[in-house]
Symmetry: D2
Subunit: 361 residues, 4 copies
């Protein structure tokens, strides 16, 4: 048993404390210290008791939270890592289904995987922990710095676009030049994931739009301008995007009414990626005409959750690329930094937040 300072909740009931707790020593061969851990809607959902699927590890009456993490290696018995290496720990751990067996627990067929900081496994918001080397991804680009804490949210985006690539094999999705030129993508939401989705949509070559029901601040505006993303405040421009037909929609809101509104703007062969979750969002309706619309246009709707090691690696690649192309811009996505012990940010989103983090050292 080791005593560590940790952010803990009592899953699925909720609550948040920062205190010293005793945790069984992990057999992992690499010792880690967190540098920065991000906070996302899942963390807030657990703290608010809104995530019914979360549960404490066996033998504990609490759960250390935290799954978006950038760590430094403090000691290593593995040849793959040495003291001082920057790493990102992988969140999901495999069960024994066919997808888990081939390193794709993100596509777990039976739900018998575990997620650090969420389902049955202590998370990364503690001042030290051990991990096996095969659960760690190295940050090789030292220029990334704190931006590497965005690896975990970005890996979801990379996996969702893999899903997009697979489902679009059902037809020719590209134009007659075999490119995405002239195709329109809409990202619903303006949080950190929404920005990362919009950046990758631009990378593919989509005309890319972000929407929310309120105006955005200076930092989000600069991010949009820098990456060539068009933002629209739908509370002021409700008719947007007018006659424009959408070839790709990615939702990060989890709100049925918003999703369905834009679904009705889809083009033939359009693809809607559902990523955001909001268990408290009210019901919204689809009619027979809407089903007809989906059928007649060969529209595909795909839920996408989590990601595998390969997506962490590609996530780091994209972050490096964008960090070099637009020096300093990704750092601006980390809008709010807090010291360990701060509790308020778990119950209330700070003003102007894109990504809030705990800075450990």
């Amino acid at each position: 048993m080791t005593a560590v300072n940790a952010y803990i909740t009592n899953a699925p009931g909720g609550g948040i404390k920062y205190e010293k707790v005793e945790i069984k020593d992990s057999p992992g061969n690499v010792s880690l210290k967190p540098l920065m851990t991000g906070i996302c809607g899942t963390d807030r959902g657990m703290v608010n008791g809104a995530l019914s699927f979360a549960y404490n590890p066996e033998g504990y009456d609490f759960l250390v939270i935290g799954h978006e993490s950038l760590c430094v290696v403090t000691d290593s018995k593995s040849e793959k890592f040495k003291k001082g290496d920057m790493v990102v720990p992988i969140v999901r751990r495999p069960g024994d289904c066919p997808n888990c067996r081939i390193g794709r627990p993100d596509n777990c067929s039976d739900g018998n995987k575990h997620e650090a900081g969420i389902t049955g496994l202590h998370g990364f918001m503690r001042d030290s922990f051990n991990e096996f080397d095969y659960n760690l991804v190295r940050v090789q680009d030292s220029d990334l710095g704190e931006v590497a804490v965005l690896t975990e949210p970005m890996k979801n985006v990379v996996k969702a676009f893999e899903v997009f690539d697979r489902v679009r094999s059902r037809f020719i999705y590209e134009n007659v030049y075999s490119t995405f030129d002239g195709k329109n993508a809409l990202i619903i939401g303006t949080g950190s994931e929404a920005f990362l989705y919009s950046f990758l949509a631009r990378d593919y070559g989509f005309n890319t739009f972000m929407v929310n029901r309120h105006p955005i601040d200076q930092i989000p505006t600069e991010l949009c301008n820098t990456f060539g993303v068009n933002f629209r405040d739908t509370s002021k421009e409700p008719e947007f995007p007018g006659d424009m037909k959408l070839d790709l929609i990615v939702d990060t809101s989890g709100d049925p009414a918003t999703i369905f509104r834009f679904l009705r703007k889809m083009n033939h062969n359009g693809i809607l990626i559902l990523f955001g979750t909001n268990g408290k969002a009210p019901q919204a309706g689809l009619s027979g005409e809407d089903i007809d619309f989906i059928v007649e246009r060969n529209i595909t709707i795909a839920g996408s959750v989590d990601a595998a090691e390969v997506h962490y690696l590609k996530a780091l690649d994209y972050l490096s690329k964008w960090n070099r192309l637009h020096r300093g811009m990704l750092n601006r996505m980390i809008t709010n930094k807090f010291a360990p012990g701060e509790l308020g940010l778990f119950s209330k989103k700070p003003q102007g937040e894109i990504k809030s983090v705990i800075k450990w050292d």
Copy 2:
């Protein structure tokens, strides 16, 4: 101009008449006479004026309806067909989008295709017409007989399973033996398409269930028993299928409330194929929790419409197979036969109908 006896409507307004009309001679190199033409929900929808996207061919104030057809060649200038050949004409004709350019107008990217008997092209319910050989599929298995009139509905099923095969490439869908053993499929509806979907689900190896909100007659019951399909009347067994998790759902009802009810029973990596359309079906709701369910389970929902020549060919193959395996059973799906001129069946579904047809000779 040639005068023919034809079933006509005035699209999209509706109505139905059987009368002699003048139609410009088609330049097609094969002359055809219908043997049997099937009637489906699309035909009834047009007659009732419920299909807003239907329209008359240019230069006509009427549209010959009919797209499910079995014909005999009466004369041929093509080397590919000779007098007496049985053929099924293809419904959809390509525009110039990338999918149409490669013979996949069923995946048309811009809507600029045409559909015989539905959108801008006269259909097959007339006592003679010409077609180009490349729009005809030969019926080679003479044992099929009248069953070949099911080729057109069956081709939709083959294409929808192609969509299923493509979208499931996003993960390992099969069990650890790489088969479908132990996977559950649910087909919503009990019309002709629903039966064909359930037969193909059985072929894949699914435990297959059909559901409707009323009991089924003797013929559907025998079809289920013969093909190993389980039918449940959900008005009597509302809790069905209980704890069973569904890996595949195919909807032929177009009814949002029914679709969403079963969507909530899906397994991880479940796939829902939307095929049925019912523009008048009332709205039903999905909540934030439902979106969450779709996201967390990597669920895919895919609309699928129409099919291409390759699917007509495979449709004939499946019909031949099932016709030989279960002699006489597919014939029983043709429950109601009418002589040309009969109008009532277009407004009212005959009692016990699985498939109603016009028998022309």
Copy 3:
């Protein structure tokens, strides 16, 4: 230990005996008796000591041969099978590589699989044995009769066409109508596998040709005529197929000179499946011009070995289809039947052989 009458060799040295041997009782939950076991080039290769990769099971100085088998269940502790069921046992058993883990030992990544009757596992040429139910595939179509002994060779054909389907996803392989009409397939060889390959090529819609360096007998000729396959004796018609361009070649000869000769006839985007093996075939050469030809035409060459459970299931499906379409024809492929104890057929191919079998009862 149980004493059984068995055909044994001493792998990889070779030799063949039929004698009573003691074998450890297998823990398999289904007891089997062979009805018919096929003999193929692999069996003869082992007997002749030409298969260096073959080896005896651990703890034995002999190997029971036989991997093409049709058996009857004599006793069953499994719910999946009952006494009297006809089954085909699966040849390859998984190791722990990613492909083996998902039920695809046919694609084993590290060679640590086993093959009954070939590599480290006793085969099926013995008068009784036990198997686990998950290694058995049921023969459901009772009309098949003895033809079911062709399931094992046919499963290789099904897997090879799966490979064909996957590798051709690199481009649009079909014509502008999205079918195979007008495409040419060439099958090299006239053994049982060659016939099964040519039948499946016909099923896809290829113009299909078989070639060998000698004329064929009456039975092969009738098989060709029945299935619409064109045979050419290349010793008499060396220029064949002249200017015809080949879109698909399947080799069952393993002879480099023959393979390369036809490779030079390939069309753009042509695919060559290598299936046949003949370790003693002499070297033949490819020049820089030949490599250029392969590059400039985007040609793909794919080795394909063995198959998984899913392919056994589809193999039975194809055999049933062809058996019904052409009653009695597949039975004619079983050209030579021998009683247990016969040894000559292992060293010398009987005259007119397509498939030789041991008939056990």
Copy 4:
């Protein structure tokens, strides 16, 4: 007609001149001036009369050569480009086959495409020409500078890896963590294409090896060190790579003997990409044992030629990435620069050449 200074040959006979020629005005809506044009084996092959498939444009007794080009826009009637834009013109122009119809003339099914500077279309080695905007790809990253002349060779690499990705869908190619960690790639050759292939193999995560039959100079050595590629001189270390099994081989030599030597080192499920061509390379042999090796290991061999617009776009992306990661290193690949009029480099490879170019301004 416009008079331009151009490098011309008389295809397929050969020869090289730099002189003023009269060329019909192209209707293209963008006017261009070359900045830099690369020279490759194809150019030298045409000059030496070794490319039998090359031919002059209709109505000309000469062919302007040059297909690797970086140009500046001098005038534009297109909205997509403006004066001063840097662009790379696309080499291959579509015919009417299914692949050409969807913007993939690199996969042309019938050979009826054209290639600028090679087959029936004047190339880019002239002091001005017009192009349609849809045949131009913009260079957006101004940091690239002269490195953008590598776009054309790099686009071949991107397409070849697309082929790799498609053909490997026939099995699970990755390790049990779903990554390429531990997989070995071998690139045959040390020219510019070989380096670009090795850089992309590193990007995928392969342990990457380059081989040639002679030592390499300082610049290639630095490139290898910078990108983490291992070079081996096989004249000195003939046993290399010993027991190492190769999961991917890319050949840029076109030499059968070299290709076959390494083919025999392949791992199960190995993939060999054939890219290099050398029509004069002598024959080398494969035996029956070699065919057996390919079959038993499910090995795939894929020719890959040219690329489509999408690959030019991704090529620019990779060049930008590597140019930023390893500042100045890609520029070092342009080893030899010549003024227009220089003829010697077409018949003799300059000492230490990785990429030779004509610098036009």
